[in-house]
């Protein structure tokens, strides 16, 4: 069985996963019920990451753990486990494409350049949205595969989801009280998802520090790390050493991108 055929098989299993279907339904519902008149994008931009990224992670974790179900078919083929893991990773394209569609719909109602996006330039506003809609949807699913390949505990996905959700709440807090602080900015960006503006339901939007472009790079590095960690499981010989080398390089790159994200953007929070 070729990698493409395996990927197609995993895709067919993934699109009927109840958790993914629930995530898709919840995302659609949240999209429909979001008020059209909002003062900041933070009212409407987080649920895609939570549902497609978070629930997507639970779905791919489930899919990966159920690889044993595929054993009668896939186990007898001369396909290595890393190739099968790579095939599993391709299912992340489903929440990725769905989030792209949602982003297009979002831009229809809240076009780039609107004051709800804060003081960023138009291309940077687009980077903020891609980092809040598309990349978390892709990364969550990839993280689920990595988790499923390494952790046997069946509740690992929802525990990690709740911890990440709580972490996201926790690290945003210091930026509310200390918007100009570098430490608060670093803490806020040390997460797979981050807000870049705050209005507190008032008319004025505060644009926080940090570079959305480099943050996008940090998120993509996290996605790459998730894929490499998943591939590392049961990789042998030259493949294993290549994956380890790539992992080390990506980790170093992720750190650099995080530092650049913290120090890029506005020197101070901008109130407008």
């Amino acid at each position: 069985m070729t990698a493409a055929a395996l990927a197609a098989r995993e895709l067919r299993r993934f699109v009927v996963n109840p958790v993914l279907l629930l995530a898709a339904a919840f995302t659609a519902w949240a999209t429909v019920t979001t008020p059209r008149a909002i003062t900041e994008i933070d009212t409407a931009n987080w649920y895609v990451a939570v549902f497609l990224g978070g629930f997507g992670m639970m779905a791919t974790f489930w899919l990966t753990r159920s690889m044993r179900g595929s054993e009668p078919v896939a186990g007898v083929t001369p396909t290595t486990l890393p190739v099968r893991t790579a095939a599993l990773c391709t299912v992340a394209v489903v929440p990725f494409l769905y989030s792209v569609l949602l982003l297009i719909g979002f831009l229809h109602f809240y076009p780039i350049g609107d004051r709800i996006y804060g003081a960023f330039s138009s291309p940077t506003q687009a980077a903020v949205l891609v980092g809040q809609f598309v990349v978390p949807s892709l990364g969550g699913s990839l993280l689920g595969v990595a988790l499923g390949r390494w952790v046997r505990f069946p509740g690992a996905a929802f525990v990690l989801f709740l911890l990440l959700f709580g972490w996201g709440n926790l690290v945003t807090l210091p930026s509310l009280s200390h918007p100009d602080s570098t430490a608060a900015t670093a803490l806020r960006l040390f997460a797979p998802f981050s807000f870049f503006t705050f209005a507190g339901n008032g008319p004025d939007v505060t644009t926080w520090r940090g570079s959305p472009w480099f943050f996008l790079g940090w998120q993509l590095a996290l996605c790459t790390i998730a894929v490499l960690v998943a591939l590392l499981r049961d990789a042998e010989g030259r493949v294993r050493s290549r994956v380890i080398r790539a992992l080390a390089t990506t980790l170093a790159l992720a750190v650099i991108l995080l530092v650049l994200a913290v120090n890029g953007g506005f020197a101070q929070a901008v109130h407008a």
């Binding site: 958790v19 629930l22 949240a30 911890l163 709580g166």
Partner: protein, 196 residues
């Protein structure tokens, strides 16, 4: 002797790891009071998930044919609920000592309701499978997350005090306690189809 061996066979690692994660999350909420109303519900959700693992019985094929009835087995295993309940109580105590301004009675009710919900779902699922924990905990987490994550539901139902204009958290959790108690009673009585 039997009580001790039944307790020893429980899914303690799962219960303790998830309860530990809840303490970590809730502890951050206590340490940083501004996040308490966001992090304590997450901690309680984790405690509900931990409670869903207490009835896991890897040797169910053997255990279920012993003369010990489901009521007695469930009663013994319910002792393990002390782990999530104790973790939640410790969080509330720490919050009180830290001076958090929470509505303590409704918050304690929410804690009890979360744990009972997890346990009740596990009891019902235990009539069909020997290890209901993974599925039951996943289902409980998804159900509990809905009012937190969906603004349209959050406006109508509160699961953590003080809540909004809709159904209060007290009403939700009293209903859960009553329904959960009934579900546990029915499932251990052997009246559910497929009871082992």
């Amino acid at each position: 002797m039997m009580v001790r061996s039944m307790l020893r066979a429980g899914a303690w690692p799962a219960v303790l790891v998830i309860s530990g994660a809840a303490v970590l999350m809730g502890g951050c909420g206590v340490a940083f009071p501004a996040t308490a109303t966001a992090l304590l519900p997450i901690a309680f959700t984790l405690l509900a998930a931990a409670a869903a693992f207490v009835l896991d019985e890897p040797a169910s094929l053997v255990v279920d044919v012993t003369p010990t009835g489901p009521a007695r087995r469930t009663g013994i295993r319910a002792v393990a609920l002390l782990a999530p309940l104790g973790a939640g109580a410790a969080l509330l105590l720490a919050g009180a000592l830290r001076g958090l301004t929470l509505l303590w009675a409704p918050t304690a009710l929410a804690l009890a309701g979360n744990v009972v919900l997890g346990f009740a779902v596990a009891c019902v699922a235990r009539t069909r499978t020997g290890e209901p924990g993974p599925r039951a905990s996943g289902a409980v987490v998804l159900v509990l997350l809905v009012p937190t994550l969906l603004p349209a539901v959050a406006r109508r139902v509160s699961t953590f005090p003080p809540g909004g204009d809709g159904l209060s958290s007290n009403a939700v959790w009293w209903s859960v306690l009553v329904a959960g108690g009934a579900a546990v009673a029915v499932s251990v009585s052997g009246r559910l189809p497929g009871l082992r």
